[in-house]
Symmetry: D2
Subunit: 284 residues, 4 copies
């Protein structure tokens, strides 16, 4: 039986291809995690095991998809940043997006019992939605990363103060909310310090800075990104060169260790010290 009579329905498929030479960001978010975290008794304001599980799931995604240069996670969200020159799945949006979301979900479920052994999962199960955002320049991509880290700081300072008032100050949640309404960062720092003896800057970095995950390529790292002048000269043979470079780079990465750090990614230091993270940046 030929299938030709119905095959015309394939013409209704519409494929979105992501603009070349842009940073692809896939951000994954927990669905209904407020409810989920309550049901599973997550510690407040931060549940270390749950964060470690997020990080482990993200690292697993990165191992399966080596075109991802780095990832940044806070709370129940994770952003995966693909190298600018990635041609994964011909840059088809749906394929890239769903592969990341599904792989992340699979490892989150699979690793749950390792990280949270005392609380078995029952439906409604944890799940994640996701979206793709493109950034056309290194500056805009870094500003995206900064945006997420600033959000981490704002939320964590608020949550730390809020739960201190509730858990240690005995305030009910409504009163705590009211007390914090309109307060500035300095006010919250002051509440923490004067009422609870907490110096916010001594709180664990994983809570204050979030988690950045990347491949720690073996040193010494030779800066292989050609400077603009060299680029201009070598244009004719560029395509061949960069292919070889990328192959080398890929092999090096596959041997490299995936590391998780909790550090400032807003200032230039982080990026200047890890030049391979932006190695696709001089690409056309």
């Amino acid at each position: 039986m030929a299938n030709s009579k119905y095959e015309y329905v394939k013409t209704f498929e519409q494929t979105t291809t992501l603009l070349p030479n842009t940073y692809i960001v896939v951000r994954v978010d927990g669905r209904g995690f407020h409810k989920f975290s309550t049901k599973h008794d997550f510690e407040k304001p931060n549940d270390r095991a749950a964060l470690d599980l997020m990080n482990a799931a993200a690292a697993a995604v990165m191992k399966e998809l080596p075109d991802i240069s780095f990832a940044y996670g806070i709370s129940d969200e994770f952003s995966f940043i693909f190298e600018r020159s990635s041609r994964l799945f011909d840059r088809r949006e749906s394929k890239i997006l769903t592969t990341v979301v599904s792989t992340f979900t699979a490892y989150y479920l699979h690793l749950w019992s390792t990280f949270v052994p005392s609380k078995p999962l029952t439906p409604l199960l944890p799940s994640f939605d996701g979206r793709v955002v493109l950034y056309p320049s290194t500056q805009t991509m870094r500003d995206y990363m900064s945006w997420r880290q600033v959000d981490c700081h704002i939320n964590n300072l608020y949550n730390t103060t809020f739960w201190a008032l509730v858990q240690r100050g005995g305030m009910d949640v409504t009163k705590a909310e009211e007390k914090l309404k309109g307060t500035l960062a300095a006010d919250k720092n002051e509440i923490l310090f004067s009422q609870f003896g907490i110096n916010y800057n001594n709180e664990p970095e994983i809570y204050r800075k979030g988690s950045i995950i990347f491949c720690d390529v073996s040193y010494p790292y030779h800066q292989e990104v050609p400077d603009p002048a060299a680029l201009a000269v070598s244009k004719n043979s560029e395509v061949e060169i960069s292919k070889t470079q990328k192959e080398k780079e890929r092999k090096r990465r596959s041997k490299a260790e995936i590391v998780v750090q909790h550090t400032d990614i807003i200032k230039d230091d982080f990026w200047e010290q890890r030049p391979w993270l932006l190695c696709g940046d001089a690409d056309r």
Copy 2:
């Protein structure tokens, strides 16, 4: 600390909204399932436990997302069809797509040990990609369903014959491939019958027809879809009416049982006997 300096990066997000009044189909496909099924010793040509697991995961997705009218699965793929008038997530493509894919993945992982207790999962874990296709009319949507069921038939007849030759006929895979090259359905039926005494039509329906999943609403079902004449008269108050109808419908569904059947969905009978499956069809 205000976040305004970096918030401009949010303007790079681009949202695709799915055209209203069209059937939304989300098709989920196993990633690398050829390798995965080999690694986990799936029975050939069909592994009943694996199919039952797919169906259980799909049914769980339908329970969480009641805007899905029905779903159809074969092998490692599942198609979810939303009712034409669905406004789920304001019809944002990424949100709908990733929610289905992630929820399906979560239940597949979670239910694995129930359906396949003897084979523990280890990385690489199973995962799924997905895509969205829109069908603007009932006829095109039904042709999509027919396309998948014809594919099920073509693939299953081939696989049944191929594995009979290999498993019972002692042929090696290359020879079996060669023997089947260019054969018609009649040829394969003949091989099955004369060499192995298999009447293909007696093979289990789940393998020959695939699985259709839907809510079996409690009978008697009152056909509430207005006929065109009535529609013309009642246009002015249609919006209000349909809202109430939909609410009722939703409640009825939530009480209804989700059933899995293995039956012909190409002919009209299936659809005519379950009018509620196309109940959004008379919508504008």
Copy 3:
């Protein structure tokens, strides 16, 4: 000199293909026509020559693009509706959109001196922007048409009353605006009748109803759209049949006269009496 070094830039082109089996509507709007009409002394509330020019330009577009079934114009806007089954330019959005807009603009400029001979054009020249909207069913497409005609009525009743107050009642524009603020249709009809002896229903239909343009195929028209029952039977040979039908239809249209009418397109009468306008409707 080979061009291969730079040809990679072609991969940045992204093509949007319009969903098959939907009505394509291209709506063209005058850019800055408030200013343009003032500069060229258009008569208020309606300039007959300018409307006739719009209609002539639209008819010229339809002659060049026979996949357009009909078009509807009011004021400085025109909507072109393509038959549902059109495959023009493989349904590439940009190509369809810009071809309509450019052809319309060209004829508007070219025919200006014929319709408005006393007022030569000087920069800023008239120009038009455009957009594409898809409607997946005949009902939604007809509701679009109704929406435009209701808008025509609302705007024309307002404008007719407003300019009567100003031109014949000697009111200044601010006072006229204030007087009409919050008034209902009945109030405006009353003002027109009691103060100026104008029965709005006797105003020219071109102002009250707008202009619908279509091919008047030679009678008797044989309804060739198969009824659903016939369709079900003939499915197998449908593609071939419809190709021949369409070819015939195309030839008939090319001989047919393009007519401009000013009539009600909200009620069913208009469509029932011209069945060929929706002839692609039974298509899948």
Copy 4:
């Protein structure tokens, strides 16, 4: 009469917003210009009046849309490049695309009689289609420009040789095509020189290089693009600064003369000597 009943049809409009911080290129192409140029006796291989008309129409578009930084034209096509930071029409694709195409068409029609006074236009009228392409970096945008100029060279060398063979060598067109099949640039140069005494490099630059159009801002031009170090320091106040800068820039441009040049745009010289053309480049 309220219009609310039908207004739901507006929800079917889908707006594509162009990714921020990318170069927007709108390329306009003559529709059926092979036929059109034959009908209107364009000189071969190049019709100077027709090219001047193209340039005049393009310059008029640039005057109406000051967000266009420069434009490049060859034969019957023109590419308009918007500054990277442009927010024209909120970067709505259809609006930008159709405005350029319609304005270009309007001026082409309007100026025809000035540039080609001896050949009155009659239907089929000239018209243009268009498309939008985004380039995320200065290098990719410049490679696009280079691609078009290399194309200009390849086509013009071929056409010059072809028409020399036909017009001066008395060859028929089929023979001339055959003779040129598979020839390299050197071969064509040799044919031109040895058979017709033509040194290709002495051909008019407008034919060999195409036409680049831009605003010649009044010298001395102060490079206002901040260097990266300055940018890093001034980030906080950047938005305000750049607004003022842009306003100044805009005023300067509005006084500036639009110039047409026929020069090499592949090498760096052109761009280095006109730094204002890429002035939006340091933007995020």
